[in-house]
């Protein structure tokens, strides 16, 4: 079993991280479009999307069966399935794989739920180290106002309502996401995450992403598919 950092594949892996409302998904979509237009073979992989595990996760969330530990493990299972059947084979084939959320999401959430940080990191030791990991840093108030504009209400686990931090969903969301930001900030130096100021104009953020991506693709011309 290879561990984080030991993998050597011809493909490239870029991931985006940040709290909800940080704009990371928009930025990843824009990067995707650009890489495609440049002629690269690009594949997008989403958090929480393994078919094998999806029903169990849904069931657990709907019936509120999940404890911090089973929440952690069911997400690790989902991630392992994507890693083994999707991400690794694609990287072997030389694809550029884009992930909306990666192991750092799990580290932040599970640790914010009270699990031992060392335990959670060890659990994901099988993950491939990304070529580039972007962290979209945004003040909590900004992300909350973006979320309010976009949709109504918070989901149970997303707001950390399983933690009993507050009865009020929006207060609970604020407290829980605050903890998650603290965890992300700790991970910036630990994992060398590239910080993007998510309060900048969308175009400016995208420009930074593309520059970093180009620098990592220089020696990857062989990955290009027909334009």
């Amino acid at each position: 079993m290879k561990r984080y950092g030991e993998h050597r594949f011809p493909g490239r892996l870029f991931v985006v991280e940040g709290i909800d409302g940080s704009g990371k998904s928009t930025q990843l979509m824009l990067l995707h479009q650009w890489l495609k237009s440049e002629g690269y073979g690009v594949v997008f992989s989403e958090w929480n999307s393994s078919l094998v595990v999806k029903d169990t996760t849904k069931r657990g969330k709907k019936r509120k069966l999940l404890t911090p530990q089973s929440f952690c493990l069911i997400h690790a299972t989902d991630f392992a399935d994507r890693m083994e059947r999707n991400i690794i084979p694609l990287l072997k084939a030389g694809a550029i794989v884009l992930c909306d959320r990666y192991i750092y999401t799990a580290f932040a959430r599970d640790t914010a739920r009270g699990l031992d940080p060392a335990y959670v990191r060890e659990l994901y030791a099988f993950a491939v180290k990304p070529t580039g990991a972007f962290y979209f840093r945004v003040p909590l108030e900004v992300s909350i106002s973006r979320l309010h504009a976009a949709r109504s209400g918070f989901k149970f686990y997303e707001a950390g309502l399983d933690m009993g931090l507050s009865e009020d969903p929006s207060e609970s969301f604020r407290l829980f996401q605050g903890r998650i930001i603290e965890e992300y900030e700790k991970m910036v130096p630990e994992f060398g995450l590239t910080v993007i100021d998510a309060t900048l104009p969308i175009e400016a953020q995208q420009e930074q992403m593309r520059q970093l991506a180009i620098s990592k693709l220089e020696r990857a011309k062989q990955l290009r598919v027909a334009p």
Binding site: D55, Q69, S70, L73, A76, T77, D81, E84, L115
Partner: protein, 278 residues
């Protein structure tokens, strides 16, 4: 029952209070066809007659994951890391929602297999042994592990003449062979090696599973009696410690057929789990 404070294998889950777990956690490990479920049925009846409340549980019986694992295994679609973590999720759910509440309520918890079977299977599938142990570091240390041991040559006729070879029990996901017999023998032999190591590392009480069920039951009964009386279990039950005897077959991967049979035979356990939660 006297309380002996429970411990984990290194990681304590948030909100899990380890004091006040007055019940006893007793693990029955062993391969398919060795008679684990028969023994558990006998033990449950005996313990209840003695006045102990019993919860019996086993792999992939959790309310959260059980069905998901069965469905995924039918399609043979799980990678080895995924399978390991899926089982770990099942175990976490049962530990927090069934086992710990039952121990707190003073039950004797009889579990058909435990983290050791899961560790052995994962190692045979080539995963890093240290990583696998750490994944299960949140498991509670049982009061005793009884390992029903049988030689691979004694095991094969039992399996063949009862229900035939199973895909997962024959390690068909591990080896590139189409021969289930070959696969079964190789896979079970590798598992055995792992089990022998685990027996030593975790101090299993090894029980020879070749005699008739009644004899095995007597040994288990004697061993469990000592645990319930709070005495250190000594080899009055004629158990040998792990790692010596000839080829023996350890646990198997799937186990579902037998596990289903066990819950059917014994019944009522999920309901008990529910009651405890309420």
């Amino acid at each position: 029952m006297k309380e002996r404070k429970k411990e984990t294998y290194g990681v304590v889950l948030p909100g899990m209070e380890l004091s006040g777990l007055v019940g006893k956690l007793i693990v029955i490990e062993g391969t398919d066809g060795v008679g684990r479920s028969t023994q558990i049925a006998l033990l449950k009846e005996w313990l209840e007659q003695k006045g102990h409340a019993v919860l019996d549980t086993g792999l992939s019986r959790s309310g959260l994951v059980g069905k998901g694992i069965k469905r995924a295994k039918e399609g043979h679609t799980l990678g080895r890391i995924t399978l390991t973590l899926f089982y770990a999720t099942d175990f976490a759910d049962r530990l927090e929602h069934e086992i710990v509440p039952a121990l707190r309520a003073g039950f004797v918890v009889l579990t058909d297999r435990y983290i050791y079977s899961l560790i052995a299977r994962a190692i045979v599938r080539g995963l890093d042994p240290e990583w696998v142990r750490k994944v299960y570091a949140f498991g509670l240390k049982p009061d005793a592990v009884f390992y029903l041991r049988i030689g691979v040559d004694d095991l094969i006729p039992r399996v063949v003449f009862s229900r035939g070879f199973d895909y997962w029990e024959s390690g068909m996901d591990v080896y590139s062979t189409e021969d289930m017999y070959e696969g079964f023998r190789r896979y079970q032999t590798s598992l055995l090696e792992q089990f022998d190591r685990l027996a030593e590392e975790y101090s299993f009480k090894v029980v020879d599973a070749t005699p008739e069920p009644k004899k095995i039951f007597e040994k288990l009964r004697a061993g469990i009696t000592k645990i319930l009386e709070g005495e250190p279990a000594r080899p009055a039950l004629e158990v040998t410690s792990g790692g010596t005897s000839p080829p023996v077959a350890p646990s198997t991967p799937a186990g579902e057929p037998e596990e289903r049979a066990a819950s059917a035979a014994i019944g009522a356990s999920p309901a008990q789990g529910e009651n405890l939660k309420a």
